[in-house]
């Protein structure tokens, strides 16, 4: 399987546009969200987690739940998440890459068609993602796209750890790659 890049923007174009978005957002974000940091994604998920927390009365004083339910940046990032969904939809529709699928084709080729198996991996993987992002106070967006740009020591360590663990996990899941179904 080749990765089709005929309909993709060049990485340089995408990268420059993201940096302009980061810088532009920084000004507005610090003005309206009382936060001297550009946009992230994690707090938006934190906002959803805080809504779970509200179902349990005794959690209202939990510092994490409190932070994500009260701070304006979490509220903004929740809508940022919705914006991301709409943005992904619009971009894929306009470029003709919208494709409804249950699980990734590459996964299916190497790990089988079982939906339950893949969904189990998805659930475990995303719980790790949420826990890790909360503990490292940021995900790829907050710690690499923004944090590396600021050369924050915390973000440099977090981002390097993302890659280190990701590389090992990927190697375990795909010890042997390179399809033999066609010559390329």
């Amino acid at each position: 399987m080749n990765i089709d890049n005929s309909k993709e923007w060049h990485w340089f174009k995408g990268g420059i546009l993201v940096s302009l978005l980061s810088v532009a957002t920084y000004f507005i974000f610090s003005a309206i969200a009382d936060r001297n940091y550009p946009f992230g994604i994690t707090a938006g998920f934190g906002y959803i987690a805080a809504q779970f927390g509200r179902l349990f009365g005794d959690l209202s004083e939990n510092p994490v739940i409190k932070r994500f339910s009260e701070k304006p940046d979490a509220f903004i990032e929740f809508f940022l998440l919705i914006g991301l969904i709409i943005g992904g939809y619009t971009a894929s529709k306009l470029s003709g890459t919208f494709l409804s699928e249950n699980i990734p084709a590459v996964w299916e080729k190497y790990h089988g068609k079982s939906l339950i198996k893949r969904y189990l991996f998805v659930l475990v993987g995303s719980i790790f993602l949420g826990y890790g992002a909360a503990l490292a106070s940021g995900c790829t967006t907050g710690n690499i796209l923004q944090g590396w740009a600021h050369l924050s020591l915390g973000s440099i360590v977090a981002g390097a750890s993302f890659f280190a663990a990701g590389i090992i996990t990927a190697k375990i899941l795909y010890p042997k790659t390179g399809g033999n179904d066609d010559n390329n």
Binding site: D4, K7, W11, T25, I76, G87, W107, F121, G130, A133
Partner: protein
């Protein structure tokens, strides 16, 4: 004010999602290809964005237009980073691209959205122990203060290193190679 916050979030998210999807950053084989060190489009995209925003941020900072606040270093960054990386390897994408993928029609991403929120919820439940273990000793994350040098002495070499990595992987790896 609430309307402004909502609109701002929606617009920034829309633009970010549009760029991510349009550049192909959201694709499962691209993320896995990067982690398998075989496809570097995401890395090139990321380091381009990082280098460009780094220079812009600090130039604007020199003009007194904005103030960057570095993230402090604590054990949570390392341990949380390793947990996050493991999750990213298992899942095959990260939180931002996850949301864009929902828009692209990838159904499993909806499940991962809830998983991510559950992960943060579990974090909230364990916060007391986490604080004592990982977050008690903190180090100032400002690299310039730590090194005691003018910031451009760090920024310029960092920009050169990032650019060199981009140049190297771009020269040696194609963006539409057959990996899987």
């Amino acid at each position: 004010m609430i309307i402004i916050n909502i609109l701002f979030g929606l617009v920034v998210g829309f633009l970010f999602g549009y760029i991510l999807t349009r550049t192909g950053i959201t694709k499962y084989p691209r993320v896995m290809g990067m982690l398998l060190l075989k496809d570097f489009k995401i890395l090139k995209f990321m380091l381009t964005a990082v280098t460009s925003s780094m220079i812009l941020f600090y130039l604007l900072g020199d003009f007194g237009l904005l103030k960057t606040v570095p993230k402090n270093l604590d054990w949570g960054k390392l341990v949380g980073g390793l947990i996050f990386g493991t999750g990213m390897g298992i899942l095959g994408y990260c939180p931002g691209t996850m949301a864009a993928r929902i828009g692209e029609g990838k159904k499993e991403a909806i499940l991962s959205l809830f998983g991510m929120a559950i992960g943060i919820f579990i974090y909230a439940l364990t916060i007391k122990n986490v604080k004592e273990t990982f977050l008690s000793s903190e180090m100032n994350g400002d690299i310039f203060t730590q090194l005691g040098v003018n910031k451009w002495i760090v920024i310029i070499p960092a920009a050169i290193i990032f650019s060199a990595i981009i140049y190297f992987v771009n020269k040696n790896f194609s963006d539409n190679k057959k990996i899987f």
